[in-house]
């Protein structure tokens, strides 16, 4: 694999006095799927929110697709069209239909005409397997359907990287799989993905690498087989025993 898609170099971040990222260095290759896991409060969401600059870091450097994004004067809009993001709480625009949700950014950021944007949006809704819900408002969709619209919305800008911040944590168990399947398709298509999740089955099947975080540090990174079979750190083994036991 050539140049890495994302590089963190000695990154530190504080929320006031709270030191939430401590000396994080991590590199994600182009086309790689990396699952970030760890106990709550370990900094994993904060870490991926730094990639599209929803969070600013105070120290260290982050390079995304060859561009340092931690320097002043970065074009945030351009960065965010290249890095899509999916949130735990879906956050669809409630006053727009599913189709309009997906069309908005291509029209307003890229300046596409409505007809072009609609064509792209319908194709993406088909790709996330809900073409028939195009005219529905978010409130009339199930959680799993909303999250798939959110994925289509993020893909509409043709990003090179996708960030997933606990995409299935707010879902009923029977809807988790429909979202994970769409994510698995994306991974198979070669998308670079950074996924914060507790779905260890997904990590095992789809991830190329697992990064385990604790107290703001990346404590361990390893291919999933290795990580699940024999985590090196005591903290990771303890974490795994807790979440795999149920």
């Amino acid at each position: 694999m050539a140049e890495p898609a994302i590089v963190f170099r000695e990154v530190h971040k504080w929320f006031g006095a709270l030191h939430v990222l401590r000396d994080v260095s991590l590199s994600v290759a182009s086309g790689e799927v990396i699952v970030v896991c760890g106990p709550s409060g370990s900094g994993k969401s904060t870490l991926i929110r730094c990639v599209n600059a929803l969070e600013k870091v105070q120290q260290g450097e982050i390079v995304v697709l060859g561009e340092p994004i931690t320097r002043p004067g970065v074009d945030l809009s351009r960065l965010r069209t290249r890095v899509g993001m999916v949130f735990q709480s879906f956050n669809l625009f409630p006053h727009m239909t599913a189709l309009r949700n997906v069309m908005l950014a291509p029209m307003k950021v890229r300046g596409l005409r409505a007809a072009e944007a609609e064509e792209i949006a319908r194709a993406l809704l088909a790709r996330v397997r809900i073409p028939e819900k195009a005219e529905h408002y978010p409130a009339s969709l199930s959680g799993g359907q909303q999250q798939r619209v959110a994925i289509a919305r993020a893909l509409a800008m043709q990003p090179r990287i996708m960030l997933f911040d606990e995409p299935t944590s707010a879902l009923d168990p029977e809807m988790i799989n429909e979202v994970l399947e769409v994510m698995t398709d994306l991974a198979r298509d070669g998308m670079t993905m950074m996924v914060v999740t507790h779905e260890m089955g997904f990590a095992r099947r789809v991830a190329h690498r697992v990064a385990f975080m604790d107290e703001g540090r990346v404590v361990e990174e390893a291919p999933p087989q290795e990580f699940f079979a024999a985590a090196r750190s005591e903290r990771a083994r303890e974490f795994l025993s807790k979440i795999l036991s149920h």
């Binding site: 945030l76 809009s77 899509g84 949130f87 956050n91 669809l92 625009f93 006053h95 993020a154």
Partner: protein, 237 residues
């Protein structure tokens, strides 16, 4: 009983004409002031939640300054205080074109803009922060995210309190009689002066205000149902 009231004073002589012209002035004054209040209210309400501190301070200063001084004082301020500060040609133009009317538009619009901004701010604050993040994460700028996502949601949420505030504005337009704007209350008092029929004149004024307010509330109720966000608690009918 019958000779106690003499309702015909309301349509005999010039009364009818006065009432009609008062009604039209009230409507024109309220409509212009409402537009000004809506623009200032949306701008200040949005800026008070903006991620830029100096803008927040500016908007807060506007709101606290204008809503915490009585409307009557603002009427006098805009009528007696502001014109002398303007250049001579502007003053001449103003006094040739009803300075008191424009002073009343400014007083009402700026005062109610400050109050309206609080209503709009409360609507914006009802939206989770992650909604804004989701919008900018697609590449929209913060300004676009406000214009296309945050404000359209907030404005739909605040139709009921914004209606109350609009009705307040309409009723407060009567304060303009203190700087001799010939609006509805001014005209009912004129009828009273000419006919010595206080009850009849006040009744006419009251019924017209009541009719106006109920009509506006009805229209806004319809607007509320039309623009309601699907899935939120259904509006009462």
């Amino acid at each position: 009983m019958n000779d106690q009231f003499e309702w015909s004073v309301l349509w005999s002589g010039q009364s009818g004409q006065w009432l009609l012209s008062g009604l039209l002035t009230t409507l024109r004054l309220s409509a212009l002031a409402w537009v000004l209040a809506a623009i200032l209210g949306v701008a200040a309400g949005a800026l008070r939640t903006a991620p830029v501190r100096p803008l927040r301070i500016l908007a807060t200063a506007y709101v606290e300054f204008f809503r915490n001084v009585p409307l009557l004082v603002w009427m006098f301020f805009w009528y007696f205080g502001v014109p002398p500060l303007l250049p001579r040609p502007a003053q001449d133009w103003l006094f040739a074109h009803g300075a008191e009317f424009w002073a009343a538009v400014c007083a009402l619009g700026v005062y109610h803009g400050a109050r309206m901004s609080e209503v709009i701010r409360s609507g914006i604050r009802a939206i989770p922060r992650t909604q804004l993040e989701a919008a900018v994460a697609t590449g929209l700028t913060t300004l676009q995210a406000y214009r296309l996502v945050i404000l359209p949601i907030a404005l739909r949420l605040i139709v009921p309190p914004a209606t109350s505030e609009s009705l307040n504005l309409l009723k407060n337009s009567s304060v303009a009689l203190t700087i001799s704007v010939a609006e509805l209350t001014f005209q009912t008092r004129q009828i009273e002066t000419y006919t010595a029929r206080a009850i009849e004149a006040l009744t006419a004024g009251t019924l017209i205000y009541l009719g106006l307010c109920v009509s506006i509330a009805t229209v806004m109720g319809w607007v509320e149902r039309r623009v309601a966000i699907p899935g939120l608690i259904a509006p009462g009918r």
